[in-house]
Symmetry: C2
Subunit: 256 residues, 2 copies
């Protein structure tokens, strides 16, 4: 095991039930696949003291802490300040982050207000993570052997910024081996393949299966199916992919 | 405010990202509507010591603690035992709960194994909550002024058991007033009304809007729309319902 992970999901919208926490499920799946044991997912209100307390507990108990939300320009976006508070330091303006925030607003013809400067604040020594699809940069911080990663809350921004730390997360601890296989399935519409893919993914949390429709001939759909697996031994990852491929074909050949 | 609430979501399936935590979003919405401030949603693995620790922290910090999951017959279903451990007592077999479990298995022609008897175990003094759609009873426990409610993890069982404590939760603390209004909308298909309803519900977390299609004449759909609101003053609840109704009509009359 590469270590333990906690996910902190920051936002009142989660605690009033307006939003279902799909970010946490996505991250939990990715972290499991990378070899981490996710031990807690905690949703926390947009309050600096509460968030700081949650970060302190998480940093004490987990090897890797990933947060989502609270990095934007509104007054209730306080995750970066709360994280600094948890570390017992003052957040400072990171010049690299400031430059990227400035550029984005300038391109939109908008001024750099104090609220927008706040998006570039982080604990001294933190590394900003570029946000290719939004304005708020993410934050990467190392505390001894531990890692904290602060991600934006908008799902596609969260995913895009997370991808930048995936190889770092993969490189921590014992090596994890990845295997993959691509196959083409003919005559099965994507809607019919979806439940089969879900069933196969249940075999093992280290399995990931994706399908891409290819060619649009009505009545003769072609699906490209990509199977990925991770394991702490190379053979295990390969066996997992083979077993998943066999199971998938078995399910798809069942009479429907 | 009626008090604070924590939601404990128990299950490894959440922590490996196999399942998105829709139960917590549903409960958070219901609790907010009833007048509670949900302060944490915590997902926890299926481990007795971890669950007990989470219950202890939640019972110390919140007025109401609601858990989901871990009440079934499999060996990793340990929520009831962990809850007793958190209270520092031994779980005992509750005779009322045992009777309901026995009846359900008997009706299915199945024996009452030790794993199934476990489903009737709870701290002494706890009240079993009948599960009309499954086998695992829920658990209600009072600790001084505080309440703990243990619910099954299967969504429809969770919802059905929760409904049995709703009036108890509504009766705690200061009174909450509820208002409602029904209206009929003609000529708008349910699929078109859905985004409008979502938009209106965003006005206030104390609002709840449901639609029921009525009459199936193609081209002339009739929708019955039910608007509910809660507030700490009667007039506020009523104003909220009226404002929601006005907003809904405004959105539905926009050219599409």
């Amino acid at each position: 095991m590469k270590g333990t992970a906690w996910i902190l999901s920051i936002g009142n919208e989660l605690l009033i039930g307006r939003v279902t926490n799909t970010n946490a499920a996505w991250l939990a799946k990715r972290l499991t696949y990378l070899g981490y044991a996710v031990r807690r997912i905690v949703a926390i209100p947009d309050e600096e003291v509460e968030i700081a307390e949650a970060f302190r507990e998480a940093m004490a108990k987990a090897d890797v802490v990933i947060s989502t939300g609270g990095l934007g320009p509104t007054p209730d976006d306080v995750t970066n300040l709360a994280f600094a508070r948890a570390l017992g330091v003052e957040a400072v303006v990171n010049q690299v982050a400031l430059e990227s925030v400035r550029e984005k607003y300038e391109a939109a013809g908008q001024p750099l207000t104090a609220e927008r400067v706040k998006m570039a604040m982080m604990p001294p020594g933190a590394t900003p993570l570029p946000n290719p699809v939004g304005t708020a940069p993410g934050v990467l911080y190392r505390l001894g052997d531990k890692l904290a990663v602060l991600l934006p809350g908008v799902p596609r921004e969260m995913e895009a910024v997370f991808q930048q730390v995936e190889s770092l997360l993969a490189s921590r601890g014992p090596p994890v081996y990845f295997a993959e296989r691509e196959m083409e399935v003919r005559g099965v519409p994507e809607a019919d393949a979806a439940p089969a893919i879900r069933e196969v993914m249940k075999m093992n949390p280290r399995l990931y299966v994706k399908s891409h429709p290819k060619g649009s001939e009505v009545g003769a759909p072609v699906l490209q199916i990509h199977i990925y697996a991770s394991a702490f031994k190379r053979e295990e990852a390969e066996e997992l992919v083979e077993a998943a491929a066999a199971e998938l074909l078995k399910i798809l050949q069942r009479p429907r």
